[in-house]
């Protein structure tokens, strides 16, 4: 198997002066999909936003290494151009900027029209191309639009924040398909040029997307790592409280 392509090492992050993540470690190879479980407010989104490079998330310790390069100090847009992309849970409405413009920005190529139409067809968003981005979109439409943009952007590392939140059953299958496309699930693992880190609160997305590794995050710490289906079964049966108890038992002084 290949080398580690994303490595989070001892990452400590604060937001507006408050420490949210404490000494987080994680490693991922190309072709892999990892899943981050955790209760609301545990720091999952903070981890994704920090990897993406949003300035509000201040790294006070540790580093993020992407394909051998320490990107901890790199601005957001440079990270995007290096090959990191994100599907936002609640992206902003940008009035006047059309969905088409966003896809074109992601494609960054001459005469993108045919490709845009093709992607919109795939995401079932042809009628949304000339609408203002995210304006009046339903939960499912937002997710599909985010994944359509990522299909245009083709990032090496895709960060996906709650792909199933606010999505009905009809939409979730299509979202699963799009996600599998983004993550090149139709390719054998050694041939994939990308990897994904998915946040999920309910774990529902695992019915549609295969993942290799799961993590449970509680209070800004990764408490355990293992088979995602096994983790999900435990969470479903005993709730996040059990994860926290289990973690406390294993922590010195806990």
């Amino acid at each position: 198997m290949g080398d580690v392509a994303l490595s989070i090492e001892g990452l400590t992050v604060e937001v507006e002066g408050r420490e949210i993540l404490h000494n987080v470690n994680l490693a991922m190879k190309l072709g892999e999909t990892h899943v981050l479980f955790g209760p609301n407010g545990s720091g999952k989104t903070t981890l994704l936003m920090t990897i993406m490079g949003f300035p509000k998330y201040r790294v006070t310790g540790g580093k993020v290494v992407f394909q051998g390069q320490d990107i901890t100090g790199l601005p957001l847009d440079e990270r995007a151009r290096l090959g990191i992309g994100m599907s936002f849970q609640r992206p902003p409405v940008v009035r006047g900027v059309k969905t088409r413009d966003m896809v074109a920005a992601c494609l960054n190529e001459q005469e993108p029209e045919a490709r845009i139409a093709q992607l919109a067809e795939k995401a079932d968003l042809a009628e949304f191309l000339d609408r203002e981005i995210n304006y009046g979109f339903s939960g499912g439409e937002i997710k599909r639009s985010e994944l359509m943009q990522l299909l245009a952007q083709r990032p090496t590392l895709t960060l996906i924040d709650e792909p199933e939140s606010g999505v009905d059953l009809v939409n979730i299958a299509l979202i699963g398909d799009l996600l599998n496309s983004v993550l090149e699930k139709d390719c054998p693992i050694p041939e994939r040029k990308c990897m994904g880190l998915i946040i999920t609160h309910t774990g529902h997305i695992l019915n549609y997307v295969n993942a290799r590794t799961g993590y449970v995050m509680c209070d800004g710490v990764i408490g355990c790592e293992g088979d995602p289906h096994e983790i999900l079964a435990t969470i479903r049966e005993k709730g996040y409280q059990e994860c926290i108890r289990c973690f406390m038992r294993r922590t010195p002084g806990g």
């Binding site: 847009d77 992309g85 994100m86 936002f88 902003p92 006047g96 900027v97 966003m102």
Partner: protein, 411 residues
């Protein structure tokens, strides 16, 4: 000329209003500007005007080198008509003085939509009139290409007083693009322009106005439209370059069933520019409709963005949308949307928003790989984008180019 046709009553009213202050905008001292300008020779071939003038006109959408793209052309420099021509049947384009001589009935339209005693500026146009254009589409005739009109100010400290009349007879279609320009980028001047629109039953008019002034120019347009049953007025206004002081509040009155008006304006105020711009629509007939959309950006100047919709008949519908973007800390945008309803069964609404570019939106675009500057430019471009239905493709292109030109100045 106009003076012989103006009745004594109109003149008397104008004289009585010669010192009447305007309802809005700072006072302009009319005495500070010269009444008469250079004499410019008539050009039967407008492509023989100076290259510099043609270039400036082109930036305001007036094309002189390729007449095939225009149904007619009218050019006034200072106070002289330098060119007037028509390329299509069923269309009339001429200096308004000539039209008054030609048509006795024109006095029935003269100062009917705009009151001559509105303020000292309308009075001044009556008392010191320097021509203007007359554009008329005959009944049932539809222009494919737009008519272009250019009001060009060359002489320093000139007061240009024009009175324009636009008539769209029944079931006609008329597209007009007008460019108002000052030759100099620093000489003072005053532009007073009265425009009266008469849109008859079933007629459709699009009027696209691009202004290019300079920081020393004062501008007081006074426009009004009367729209009959099933008539349509689509008015687009773009102010790109800095201006000293601009105040206008065009009014459209829907007097026939199902008459429709849409006003779009795109305003940019550079430091030192003072704009007070609004659109007013009176819905006096059943099922009349209006939409007023304005986009205002300040890079340090001051903008008052007004809007007024009044519903006085059953089943009328009006919406007013006013959005402002402050790109510089010293800029001011004051949005004043107003609605007035006088009976049940009407539907009037407005939305107004003023702010700066949201950092969250910039970062969203940056996460897709755009630099901060590219992301900001994309948001500003989106902000200025006003989708306009019913405009011929050539004019949409013209409008888009004008707006893109302003983007360059903003970034």
């Amino acid at each position: 000329m106009a003076e012989t046709k103006s009745s004594r009553t109109i003149r008397d009213k104008a004289r009585a209003a010669a010192d009447k202050p305007a309802a809005f905008g700072e006072n302009v001292d009319l005495g500070a500007y010269a009444g008469s300008g250079e004499e410019h020779p008539y050009q039967s071939d407008p492509s023989r005007l100076s290259a510099a003038a043609r270039e400036q006109m082109l930036e305001a959408g007036v094309i002189l080198d390729d007449p095939s793209q225009r149904a007619g052309t009218f050019i006034q420099m200072d106070n002289a008509t330098v060119h007037s021509s028509v390329r299509q049947e069923g269309l009339e384009v001429m200096p308004v003085g000539q039209a008054l001589d030609k048509y006795d009935w024109l006095s029935d339209y003269w100062w009917q939509a705009v009151a001559v005693d509105t303020d000292k500026y309308t009075a001044s146009v009556e008392l010191n009139q320097h021509n203007g254009y007359f554009i008329r589409a005959l009944s049932g005739h539809k222009t494919v290409y737009p008519v272009q009109a250019c009001l060009y100010m060359e002489k320093a400290r000139l007061a240009q007083n024009v009175h324009n009349i636009i008539i769209a007879e029944e079931d006609s279609e008329l597209h007009i693009i007008t460019g108002c320009i000052t030759a100099s980028d620093k000489e003072a001047g005053l532009h007073l322009g009265v425009s009266e629109f008469y849109i008859k039953r079933g007629a459709r008019v699009t009027f696209t106005m691009i202004h290019k002034w300079n920081p020393e120019v004062a501008v007081r347009p006074r426009s009004a439209a009367i729209i009959e049953e099933d008539g349509l007025l689509l008015s687009n206004y773009v102010l790109i370059k800095p201006v000293g002081s601009l105040q206008m509040y065009p009014t459209a009155k829907c007097v026939g069933k199902n008459a429709t008006v849409r006003f779009n304006s795109v305003l940019v105020a550079a430091p030192g520019s003072s704009l007070d711009v609004g659109s007013r629509v009176i819905l006096d007939a059943e099922e009349a409709k209006t939409e007023i959309v304005s986009r205002a950006i300040t890079t340090g100047g001051s903008i008052i963005a007004r809007g007024y919709v009044e519903g006085n008949a059953p089943d009328v519908k009006g919406h007013l949308e006013c959005r402002g973007l402050i790109l510089d800390g010293d800029g001011i945008i004051h949005a004043i949307p107003e609605l007035k309803g006088t009976l049940a069964g009407i539907d009037l609404s407005h939305e107004a928003a003023v702010g700066k570019i949201a950092e969250e939106e910039v970062e969203y675009l940056m996460a897709r790989g755009l630099t901060r500057n590219e992301a900001t430019a994309t948001i500003v471009r989106g902000f200025l984008r006003v989708d306009i239905e019913g405009l011929p493709p050539s004019l949409s292109g013209e409008l888009q180019r004008a707006i893109e030109a302003s983007e360059k100045d903003l970034m």
